[in-house]
């Protein structure tokens, strides 16, 4: 898996946005990927044997040449996956509608009503309605006490895929975005399971983004989720996000951790190995102090949550201690 960040421009300003650290670094005068750079990234996908072009931003559909970029990816026979807020230009929507359903998947992120003015939701629903089975609703839990039930009505109204992708807002290393704290995970798990019960009653299933941990759910809750078709995992791996200037990062929340340049020989395998090695020391720990001795983590069944959360637990102590010289020898 690799995401291609083709735009640093966004038409929303979500407080939990974990791309914030990265957007601040690379915005400026060239906020959109050039066709030449995009072609290099398609070469990389070909070299890596990846048959999807996963486009994200910012808001990727705001790229003035979005239809041309989609066409370039389709010429390489890539399936198009778009991470969008749904506030897209007509030309962008038209170009996605022109793709066969099997070659187009739009992950349309909808915010909680408190962040989403009614006109925004109206536009998002219009986009979802048009995309139909090409689209799936995504939702980021950025506060513990957040209502998600309205998403089920949105799905019924728009006839998009009967599936919701849930994410938990994770912190950037700078910690400047709103995010969920580990001590809130258990409370959120209960909310998710309650939501899953309502969703199941309407034949809607859930899937989970990275950063969830096994211990936030009880055995019974997990059994219920799995029995009702949820796709759930306890993973945190180098996603590989490549920006509009061919800088590769582990993932947006870990923007501060050693970006490298995409070159003509890079493959997903070599890049993933690079980032895995770079963060291996931190992976010994997890988001909770207990993670280090957890059998699930030791067996590799749970990665111990989002690495950005783990890394934010580490601190440096700038101490100096004076001792008698003969004692220091």
């Amino acid at each position: 898996m690799t995401n291609l960040a083709i735009s640093t421009v966004c038409n929303l300003n979500c407080p939990y946005c974990f791309a914030g650290d990265h957007m601040g670094e690379v915005g400026g005068e060239q906020p959109y990927i050039s066709r030449e750079t995009f072609a290099q990234q398609l070469d990389y996908l070909d070299r890596s044997g990846i048959d999807e072009a996963r486009l994200l931003g910012g808001e990727p559909t705001l790229h003035p040449e979005f239809p041309a970029l989609v066409a370039m990816a389709r010429q390489r026979n890539k399936r198009i996956v778009v991470f969008s807020n749904g506030l897209m230009r007509p030309a962008a929507l038209d170009c996605l509608m022109a793709l066969p359903e099997t070659h187009c998947h739009v992950m349309l992120n909808i915010n909680a009503p408190a962040l989403n003015p009614a006109p925004v939701l109206t536009r998002q629903k219009a986009t979802l309605k048009r995309l139909g089975q090409r689209a799936m609703v995504g939702f980021n839990i950025y506060q513990p006490n957040i209502g998600m039930d309205f998403l089920l009505d949105v799905i019924d109204e728009t006839a998009c895929q009967r599936r919701v992708r849930l994410g938990m807002a994770q912190p950037c290393l700078s910690g400047e975005n709103d995010s969920i704290r580990p001590h809130q995970y258990r409370f959120i798990a209960e909310k998710i399971v309650a939501f899953a019960r309502k969703a199941a009653a309407r034949q809607i299933t859930l899937e989970f983004d990275c950063g969830f941990v096994r211990c936030m759910f009880t055995d019974d809750e997990l059994a219920f989720l799995e029995a009702n078709g949820s796709t759930i995992g306890w993973h945190c791996n180098p996603i590989l996000d490549i920006d509009a200037h061919n800088q590769v990062i582990h993932c947006y929340p870990l923007t501060g951790v050693g970006a490298i340049n995409l070159d003509a020989t890079s493959t997903a395998t070599t890049l993933r190995a690079h980032f895995s090695e770079q963060v291996a020391m931190y992976r010994q720990a997890g988001i909770f102090p207990e993670c280090i001795n957890c059998p699930l983590k030791q067996r590799g069944e749970c990665t111990g949550g989002c690495l950005a959360v783990t890394m934010r637990r580490f601190r440096h102590s700038d101490f100096a201690i004076q001792v008698a010289e003969q004692e220091a020898q």
Partner: protein, 92 residues
């Protein structure tokens, strides 16, 4: 004459129960401190002066002050050998 130690610039640490995990981000090395070492490290990080550190260790580990001082010296020496600490004025 006084000499001393300070923490290497790239060292970060986290407490996991009674175990401390130290990593050196620049050298890509890590160490685990347990027991007396974990206690001493945490006391060091509070910024205690050397004599107070010795007294605290003596109380916590139920050692007389001479034994606590020798124990602390040994730990500082070990950490210096491992590259966790550097001697003051040795650069960063």
């Amino acid at each position: 004459m006084k000499a001393g130690y300070c923490c290497i610039g790239g060292i970060l640490w986290v407490k996991n129960g009674d175990t401390l995990l130290l990593v050196d981000d620049t050298q890509r090395r890590s160490w685990t401190l347990r027991g007396d070492e974990a206690i001493a490290w945490e006391l060091l990080c509070t910024g205690y002066r050397y004599e107070k550190l010795v007294r605290q260790l003596s109380l916590i580990l139920a050692l007389d002050e001479t034994a606590a001082r020798e124990h602390l010296q040994a730990m500082l020496h070990t950490w210096h050998q491992k590259g966790i600490l550097q001697q003051n004025g040795a650069g960063s």
